[in-house]
Symmetry: C2
Subunit: 111 residues, 2 copies
Amino acid sequence: MDLLTRTEEIILLSVHELRDSAYGVTIRDLAADLTGRRWSIGAIYVPLDRLTRNGFLKSHSGDPTHQRGGRRKRLYRLTAKGVTALKETKELQDKLWAAIPGVSALRPRPV
Amino acid sequence: MDLLTRTEEIILLSVHELRDSAYGVTIRDLAADLTGRRWSIGAIYVPLDRLTRNGFLKSHSGDPTHQRGGRRKRLYRLTAKGVTALKETKELQDKLWAAIPGVSALRPRPV
DNA sequence: TTATATTTGTTCTATCTTATAGAACAAATA
DNA sequence: TATTTGTTCTATAAGATAGAACAAATATAA
């Protein structure tokens, strides 16, 4: 079982969600949108690299777009291993929280 | 918003679940049970320390137990801040996964 | 009744892995 | 050659992991 970090989970989910337009910039924007935080360039590309090296993602170079300027994109896609890791992560989370009462009922117990 | 790491989430949930018997050893055992992995001593106490320093947990020394041997326990409890962080973490996760079809439907899309 | 053994639990520290930030660089079209 | 879009690279901070060392409790032996 490969347990993902939270960053890795967010990035893999973003890649999944973005389908054929998953590359550095769009992944960064979606992650920012989902989490309500700013993500630096490095906070996206470093994990993307590692996830690719470790077989959770694969990447290929996109075609030129005939838009004004701009370097070619590196597009990402989940591998079967990436999908499995996401599933297992979700299952663990569900298990973790299954025993806990509704989130809204969570309160610190007085000493 | 304080976004917890996965380790922190698991530890805080374990502390919550264990109520008045949350200390290093029981937390370690519950984390192992929940995740199906072995947790080293340091993998528990180092985050416990940090979570306490950062105000997510508070701790106090337990009474001697009149069982055979054994050092006094350091018991942990969630603070209001810890509860809030757990709630926000859960909400983020729910949001992250809300857009995704059932986990079982997740498959890598062919290239 | 004092010393030593045994048990349970925590503290400490070293090292490895991840996260984070942004400068530098590259490649595309205007 | 300038401008735009995007990626690579690198340095540093933060978190994860492992387990040796240490501490404090009761049991047992002399």
